[in-house]
């Protein structure tokens, strides 16, 4: 199957009573799994694995189980599942917290510890050993003069399937399958891109990773969509049940149909536009044969994430923004939503706080407590000397460090909810593991 070369592609909009049925019937309508998986194939399934939270932060396990089951029925010899989590977290940590490894083994798949975090807990493993493992198991792929380290299991697998849970996203509006590919590899340029204010660089980077290995079968799971606040679970997060999945063999076509279903203008989707410019798939709806539900009859409107930080309503917080980099915006979005979710009590204890972010943020009216978020705001903000200021450094700042600094600044008795949250986090923020993460590099 080479979707980019063909002029027409088929995409199924599957609607059933359960996610499993949606997968089974959807693949059947696409011609059956034997069109994709052959007897004896090794399959790698890329799913969403970002945080140790439940659905819909990570892929719906029922959807994943249905695909694994289908691959087995087609005669797949070995099925791997994997993804990189959020920066600073290990796959082992998430797997332990939600019991993934043993669960996958029981349903006939193997979770790949792409970050080798299953080795970090072994006492006798050394820096040298980790480096050897890394060299043996990773390949370097060059795309547009950028080097991407990709696990050999992904590259060597006969078939590559992308299963993506559709959630709202603060930068790209929606997490679609092309964006799901971004956590397929690690590279240093990903960090540099986030430091810039240029969304174009990030788009370029995402598409570069996508081209490293394009999926043979793509499932955008919008049976339930996370709306309001996402892509993680926050106070304002809600689920919308649509009972739908979009399935196809061309990621660009599948994302195009998904965007259209969700009433988004495809031309305004920056990732799809870039994919179109690079001719990575079929984006022209007239060339996509839609099977199953009628695209024109379904229009789903979802509540997007806030696009301005000022719109995150946090009692006693006044948010002032300057010219913000992507990384600062993304981290501040998650940080403020985290506070909104976990600091319910604390915001009543602390006095009025001004939260400044970005280059040259406006001077706040209230100067009793000022939090300056990120290096660029710290450099460009000039306030009177007697103002109480909490600086949260970093480009972008690390959320866990921000929590520590916030508790130190307000004192734990004034932020009991956050203190509780911090202590629970500490169970997993193991210094030794962080050192190993650094040795491993790039995470």
């Amino acid at each position: 199957m080479e979707p980019s070369k063909s002029k027409v592609t088929s995409v199924v909009i599957s609607k059933e009573a359960s996610p499993k049925e949606c997968v089974f019937r959807g693949i059947e309508k696409l011609g059956g799994i034997t069109n994709y998986i052959r007897d004896g194939d090794q399959v790698f399934i890329k799913f969403n694995l970002t945080l140790p939270q439940g659905f819909p932060v990570n892929t719906n396990m029922d959807t994943l189980e249905a695909i694994i089951d289908t691959c087995h029925k087609a005669g797949a010899k070995k099925i791997y599942v994997g993804s990189y989590p959020l920066k600073g977290l290990t796959i082992k940590l998430i797997s332990d917290l939600i019991g993934l490894n043993s669960y996958f083994l029981k349903i006939g798949a193997e979770l790949v510890f792409l970050d080798y975090s299953n080795y970090y807990f072994l006492k006798d493993i050394k820096k040298k050993d980790l480096k050897i493992i890394k060299t043996q198991n990773f390949s370097q792929i060059n795309v547009n003069d950028e080097k991407f380290e990709v696990h050999k299991i992904i590259l060597d697998s006969d078939k590559f399937i992308s299963v993506n849970q559709v959630n709202v996203d603060p930068i790209f509006k929606l997490r679609l399958s092309i964006l799901n590919s971004y956590s397929l590899s690690i590279n240093k340029s990903q960090l540099n891109v986030l430091k810039s204010k240029n969304l174009k660089d990030l788009i370029q980077n995402v598409i570069d990773v996508f081209t490293v290995r394009k999926p043979d079968l793509i499932i955008n799971d919008l049976f339930y969509i996370l709306e309001g606040a996402g892509p993680y679970i926050y106070k304002d997060s809600k689920l919308k049940k649509t009972g739908l999945m979009v399935i196809g063999n061309d990621a660009v076509a599948v994302d195009t149909i998904t965007s259209t279903l969700l009433s988004y203008n495809v031309d305004q989707n920056l990732l799809l536009r870039e994919a179109r410019n690079r001719n990575l798939g079929i984006y022209d709806i007239s060339k996509i044969q839609v099977i199953g539900e009628n695209l024109n009859e379904i229009k789903i409107n979802i509540q997007e994430c806030v696009s301005r930080l000022e719109d995150i309503i946090l009692p006693n917080f006044s948010i002032k923004t300057g010219n913000i980099s992507l990384g600062d915006f993304e981290q501040a979005y998650h940080f403020l939503n985290l506070l909104k979710t976990h600091m319910i009590k604390d915001v009543k204890y602390i006095s009025k706080t001004s939260f400044l972010i970005g280059d040259n943020p406006p001077v706040p009216e209230n100067l009793s407590n000022v939090i300056i978020f990120g290096d660029s705001a710290i450099k460009s903000t000039k306030l009177k000397k007697n103002v109480k200021i909490l600086k949260l450094p970093g480009n972008p700042p690390n959320i866990f460090d921000c929590i520590d600094l916030l508790i130190k600044y307000y004192r734990k008795s004034n932020v009991p909810s956050l203190y509780l949250f911090q202590n629970l986090l500490k169970l997993y923020r193991n210094k030794k593991i962080n050192e190993k993460l650094k040795i491993w590099g790039g995470l």
Binding site: I98, Y103, I233, L239, L427
Partner: protein, 522 residues
């Protein structure tokens, strides 16, 4: 057609209600009647009063009721009774009407609002009165009610509550009883029946009642108009079988004059008179308001609404000696005692219980850990010396298992899981093996929790004894039990659980207490 015991009691109630309406001081009526469908004898006037305050709030606040008994096939009307009520719910006279008053058609019960209008027209035409409620009983319902009433007088203990609940469940589950306009409590019970998927509410009540330690309590439901006392005692240790009983009376009946006394004095007198260990006082209106809120819940249960109810209950608890009282006064409310407890770094001021932050903390943790759609399996065991086995303790000591299904912040299903669905034959049944087995049939299970009955019993016993004497060290003993895997275990372990297992409940409690207790009055 009706059970003679039920009928004679019902006629007695009607006669007394009719007398009470015309008396200047009805509280002086000495006649005893049984609360319908229960073995509880009370003053006729008190029953009149309970109907007067409860019926308009929970059923209908308008006059006149029509009872219709129909055949099980819904094709024939068997009897029609009109109760004319001057006050809503006070049944004071009845009239048997002709069965030909209206012709019943099978689809009438599907469009009960139209059927009501047709009957209304017929009643206005023939009797010149308007009715506010129709209650329709199938013949089978009457048979069940009769069976229930057969032994009712000999059931003198607590078991009538689950028995009555069982009867209600059967009537509603099998569509044997209809009422129009439909009151919230009817929808609430029907909603629960659907939610619980075959798990009997009566069994849940019995399970939790059996966990309670021996008790001798009384509750004064206070109001200026007519206070009343509910006495609930267990007489034998619970291991020798349930022997609890419930009585209701007015303070006057006990010879307690309620005027000019403040509430703690009233409670002290009640305590001595009814020989209870503990006496509570709640405001009648507060209790009714809480029940009304609960009955308003819709199904699937929105967790957001449950959170509000939880908040209201906690708000009530923090308003000790304002909205409610208890005698003996719990030590935990004593300032010196609290100071002593604080020396151990436990700031336990229940008057500042954070009614708004606790539910948020609980539900946030639920969603963050398990997700917005989740299935959580709870397995209860009952370990004793004979059945304990370190390897297969869950399988050997299994009591029951329940799967809670949450969909988009709503509790959508509660499913009872059978033993054979839980355990694999040739494997050691650890929680992760159980999770995989149950996931095969019911979809991905986010977490499995195993809790032993002994631990539940200890927790409930320990915290109910707090109401009298607060024993910090006995609390620590219970905290230590939480560390034992066979009493409490979870897979996969969420951070809160891991913290308790690794660092102990004492440390967790200290850390979480500033969230549970407010610093200031808000």
């Amino acid at each position: 057609m009706f059970n003679p015991k039920f009928k004679s009691n019902w006629l007695k109630i009607i006669a007394n209600n009719s007398n009470i309406q015309i008396l200047d001081d009805p509280s002086k009526i000495k006649e005893l009647v049984r609360i319908p469908l229960t073995p509880v004898n009370i003053d006729a006037y008190l029953l009149y009063y309970l109907f007067e305050i409860l019926y308009p709030k929970f059923v209908n606040d308008q006059q006149n009721i029509l009872d219709i008994i129909i055949s099980d096939e819904k094709k024939e009307i068997l009897s029609v009774y009109l109760f004319e009520t001057q006050k809503a719910g006070i049944h004071q006279s009845y009239l048997k009407l002709s069965n030909e008053l209206i012709i019943l058609q099978e689809e009438d019960l599907k469009n009960i609002d139209e059927f009501f209008n047709k009957i209304q027209l017929a009643i206005v035409k023939t009797k010149g009165v308007r009715i506010s409620t129709i209650r329709i009983f199938k013949q089978k319902a009457i048979e069940l009610l009769n069976q229930h009433c057969d032994l009712i007088e000999s059931i003198s203990n607590f078991s009538f509550i689950p028995r009555l609940m069982g009867l209600l469940e059967e009537l509603l589950e099998n569509d044997l009883f209809y009422i129009y306009p439909t009151p919230n409590f009817y929808n609430f019970i029907k909603g629960n029946i659907t939610l619980l998927n075959g798990i009997k509410i009566s069994e849940i009540i019995t399970f939790f009642h059996n966990l309670l330690p021996k008790y001798k309590i009384s509750i004064l439901f206070n109001t200026n108009k007519q206070p009343f006392i509910l006495k609930a005692h267990t007489e034998k240790p619970r291991s020798k079988g349930s022997n609890s009983f419930i009585k209701l009376f007015t303070p006057e009946k006990l010879g307690i004059g309620m005027e000019k006394l403040d509430i703690p004095d009233k409670l002290n007198i009640i305590k001595q008179t009814v020989e209870s260990d503990t006496v509570y006082s709640f405001n009648q209106n507060d209790a009714i308001a809480l029940l009304l809120d609960i009955f308003e819940l819709e199904f699937p249960l929105k967790l957001e609404k449950l959170q509000l109810i939880f908040q209201k209950i906690l708000y009530g608890i923090r308003n000790f000696e304002n909205k409610w009282y208890v005698i003996p006064r719990p030590q935990i409310y004593n300032s010196f005692f609290r100071f002593m407890v604080r020396l151990f770094r436990f700031n336990l001021n229940l008057k500042k219980l954070s009614h708004w932050a606790i539910p948020q903390l609980f539900f946030n943790s639920l969603h963050s850990n398990f997700g917005l759609n989740s299935k959580v399996l709870i397995i209860t065991t009952s370990i004793d010396k004979k059945n304990f086995n370190k390897v297969e303790y869950i399988k050997n000591t299994f009591k029951f298992a329940v799967l809670f299904e949450i969909e988009n912040r709503k509790l959508s299903k509660v499913i009872s899981i059978k033993k054979q669905e839980l355990f694999s034959e040739h494997k050691i049944n650890s929680l992760d093996v159980i999770r995989a087995k149950v996931s095969e049939k019911y979809g991905y299970v986010s977490a499995v929790i195993n809790i032993d009955k002994f631990l539940l019993h200890k927790i409930i016993g320990n915290f109910s004894s707090d109401l009298a004497k607060f024993k910090l060290f006995s609390k620590f003993k219970v905290f230590n039990l939480l560390k034992k895997e066979y009493y409490l275990n979870m897979y996969p372990q969420i951070p809160q659980f891991k913290y308790i297992k690794e660092r102990g409940m004492k440390s967790f409690f200290k850390m979480v207490l500033p969230v549970l207790i407010d610093k200031h009055e808000f």
